[in-house]
């Protein structure tokens, strides 16, 4: 059973545009929501994470928006660059699980020049 649903599966954005990836979850016990970036042949690397006590977190060009009532969170990449082309995974975890992550299916982002 997919605990975290992610969309879209793939995304093409022009350089300078905004990339938006959405995720939804069901388990209200989740209290940690990270986004991971994965380049081909590499392991995922943490990009940015948020906890449910805040509605937004921004780090450089990357912003997480969190809607606790809707059980949704999204990643916004401002001024998208070709170097941002990668697969992005949202995830959710709860403290009782030792923060073992439940991943979405991933979004393949291509930023065109």
């Amino acid at each position: 059973q997919q605990q975290v649903k992610q969309s879209p599966q793939s995304l093409i954005v022009q350089k300078g545009g905004i990339s938006i990836i959405n995720c939804a979850y069901e388990n209200t016990a989740f209290d940690y929501f990270p986004w991971y970036q994965q380049f081909p042949g590499k392991g995922p690397a943490l990009l940015i994470a948020i906890r449910p006590d805040v509605s937004e977190k921004k780090e450089g060009r990357f912003t997480i928006s969190f809607n606790k009532s809707a059980k949704q969170f999204s990643l916004h990449i401002m001024d998208s660059q070709p170097g941002d082309s990668a697969t992005y995974f949202c995830a959710a975890a709860r403290q009782g699980s030792g923060y073992a992550l439940n991943f979405g299916k991933g979004t393949s982002l291509l930023v065109t020049p």
Binding site: Y36, G41, G43, P44, F89, G98, A100, L101, F103, G106
Partner: protein, 112 residues
């Protein structure tokens, strides 16, 4: 940058062979994890450990086994590999609670 290492990075073996994928971290993390990822797909947790002599099965059933005899080492073993085991295996670690999970670069296993 994460100090978590996986070997081998790439392995092609025959059906029925026993293989061990090695994972070591030098960060002193107490928690370690194994995820399985098929190409272009999501990651599935197959094993995790909270510390030495602690191992638990993850959400995805796996025929592999793990051990945690030392804090820094979390090997994964397949006693008899099958083509269905062909996948990428990612090791990860974290410290305490509420902290970042760091991933290794993965081990690509192909069973022919």
């Amino acid at each position: 940058e994460a100090d978590i290492y996986q070997t081998p990075r790439y392995l092609v073996i025959g059906t029925g062979k026993k293989i061990t994928l090695e994972c070591s971290q030098t960060m002193g993390h107490d928690k370690m994890y194994w995820y399985q990822q098929d190409p272009g797909m999501e990651l599935h947790l197959i094993h995790y450990s909270y510390g030495v002599n602690s191992t638990e099965k993850g959400d995805l059933s796996s025929e592999s086994t793990v051990s945690r005899i030392r804090t820094e080492h979390f090997p994964l073993t397949l006693e008899s590999a099958r083509p269905s085991h062909t996948s990428q295996y990612l090791c990860a670690s974290s410290r305490g609670t509420g902290n970042t999970i760091y991933f290794g670069e993965g081990s690509w296993l192909t069973v022919v």
